[in-house]
Symmetry: C2
Subunit: 133 residues, 2 copies
């Protein structure tokens, strides 16, 4: 799946563009719908394949929502960081904290684990959505 030649196609560009115009995370389904709304006809399967490829190449961030759905986002800050996602509007705040990283690494090595990757996601209600539920 990795290190394969990628061609530049209309649909590839379309997915890339829609991702560029989208703040926060969006699922493949949502992106497909959004493309459809804009008039770009791209097959759902292609959206999935393209996103998978982009994620593979590290061009997009991926996270799994509370419901298990995969969500993608244009990769802005390339460093390792985590997210605070609003349940209501999907707005995303970034959380950067060396503390967690250190803690995770320390705990991992204490148990002798290697190749450890971790995910941290926080879901809550943002100020705006709190006012009008």
């Amino acid at each position: 799946m990795t290190e394969i030649e990628r061609r530049t196609t209309r649909q590839r560009r379309a997915v890339h563009d829609i991702l560029q115009r989208t703040d926060g995370f969006a699922s493949a389904q949502e992106l497909h719908q959004r493309l459809r709304d804009v008039g770009d006809k791209v097959g759902l399967a292609t959206v999935y394949r393209t996103l998978a490829a982009m994620a593979d190449d590290g061009e997009v961030d991926v996270l799994r929502g509370e419901d298990g759905e995969l969500r993608y986002r244009r990769c802005a800050s390339h460093g390792h960081h985590h997210h605070l996602v609003c349940r209501g509007c999907g707005r995303v705040e970034e959380m950067i904290g060396a503390a967690v990283e250190t803690w995770a690494e320390e705990a991992a090595s204490r148990h002798g684990f290697v190749d450890v990757l971790h995910t941290f996601e926080a879901f809550g209600t943002c100020p705006d959505c709190r006012e009008r539920p």
Copy 2:
């Protein structure tokens, strides 16, 4: 879904028991299979419904595997904690650290978010599995 009366049935007990005899996390599918192996006939749907109810009542820990599958475990330590799961054998180590909690809460309130829940999962390779890949 919450605060509903729960009845004590054979299948309820069966699920509870199998969970009790299982170390680490297991998916609903796995538990259902295990029940079948033991001779306890319980419908798959019932396993799902029961696990959901138990999770709802805080009787079991729930975590979503890397593949998005939900996995359940008998709730040992009732406090809030996180997991270090071995990709190879599924072995689970618990990680307790006030630091993360504090950090998460602090970050959440800094952004004005409320009702914030967070998940942290670490996946790696344990010492045993490292030796024989």
